[in-house]
Symmetry: C2
Subunit: 71 residues, 2 copies
DNA sequence: CTGTGACTCTAAGTCCGTA
DNA sequence: CTACGGACTTAGAGTCACA
């Protein structure tokens, strides 16, 4: 499974657990809403700096967002 | 501490543990030698796909390369 | 062996909109 | 709310010669 999909899936899961919309999360994390959408679907290939921005916004460690749950 | 520096420091440490030069590692991982140099010094901001290439070359999980050892 | 500056070219990342 | 499109600016990818 692609890193981008692992990352995106984890982002979506954690975002939903927090009860946030893509827009709300994007605003809180300082990331464009359309970019959040693309990342969650595994279409984007974010840099380390951006990836950490996601992690901070979700209040988790970056390594957590890269953990493959299955497959 | 910056993610890029954490990443770079871990790459350098693991590369040296394997007894490889930047050139040797770069060749094995399919990454340019000078790019390896830049990453190890935290000057580059690689994407997830690139970061995973480093991980595969070092035979570790990507999340491993993002673990902060201290501070 | 490694660091560095400079370079081209592609993709990251933002912002506008619409369904 | 989210997917998806186009257009755009910036920064990363990838490489080189030289120190």
């Amino acid at each position: 499974m692609d890193v981008r999909q692992v990352f995106g899936t984890n982002v979506r899961r954690l975002r939903l657990e927090k009860g946030l919309s893509q827009e709300e999360f994007g605003f809180a994390a300082g990331i464009d809403r359309t970019y959040v959408s693309g990342v969650e679907r595994g279409l984007r290939n974010p840099t380390l700096l951006l990836a950490e921005k996601f992690a901070r916004g979700l209040d988790v460690e970056l390594s957590e967002l890269l953990r493959r749950s299955e497959c």
